[in-house]
């Protein structure tokens, strides 16, 4: 059942992004920023956690989940380190995804050639 909800919720969140692309003049960069900031806001309001609980990766894989991860990281860091946690929490939580992307970017630029792309 969790797989079904992951597919449905994940697909649904992508449709929201598609509607933003087709119906507004927002560029991909702006849509990604909007999703991450919305994710932080929804998580702060306590609305994203229930979604993540029942949709699993359907809620955590879209970039809204990236915002949720930042907000959750900040929460636990503030509890442990006080105000300093507000600075360190978000990125400690999101470090895995960001570092993986950057490492892959460097490795890919060394391995692949530009002409391989279409």
């Amino acid at each position: 059942m969790r797989f079904f909800w992951a597919f449905l919720v994940g697909g649904g969140l992508c449709v929201i992004g598609q509607l933003l692309i087709d119906l507004t003049a927002l560029t991909p960069a702006r849509i990604l920023v909007l999703f991450v900031v919305s994710g932080v806001a929804l998580s702060a309001l306590g609305w994203y956690e229930p979604l993540a609980d029942f949709a699993g990766a359907g809620a955590t894989v879209p970039l809204l989940g990236f915002g949720h991860l930042l907000a959750q990281g900040v929460l636990s860091a503030v509890e442990r380190h006080g105000l300093l946690g507000a600075l360190t929490g978000g990125f400690s939580a999101a470090a895995g995804g960001i570092a993986a992307s950057l490492v892959c970017g460097v490795l890919a630029s060394l391995a692949a050639r530009s002409k391989d792309q279409c």
Binding site: F3, I16, A57, A71, V74, E79, G96
Partner: protein, 150 residues
Amino acid sequence: MKISKEEYDKLSRQVSPKSKLWTDCLWAFFVGGTICLIGEGLRAFYQTRGFILTDASALASVTLVVLSAILTSLGWYQKIASKAGAGTLVPITGFANAVVSPAIEYRVEGLVTGVGAKMFVIAGPVIVWGMMASVVWGVIYYFLRPMLGG
């Protein structure tokens, strides 16, 4: 029903943006849903290997990032993206694609000002504004916490 060429043109123009929107959304839904389904499968797999839920989630994200980087290097991700639109943009694989794609494209401009700088064309704004939002929330939470009795 008889209609002139002009009328037909007008009618088709009224109808086609809607049907394009419908197809776009279907593609986005199925491709985006499938990427999340793979993510859920990876998460379940890592959980059976003994990782706690948060670690399993992070590992699933990292695996998706690596898969996206490989598909981007092969030029396949862009082919799927031309059909799937937001279905490939919104998941974390889209973020990885936005990092890897310019890294490959600007390799000719060197490792520092080419690869190092251009990787952040889309990832930079996402990281900056994601960080701003999380810091603001962290400060609010810091002052809110005593009032919540925490």
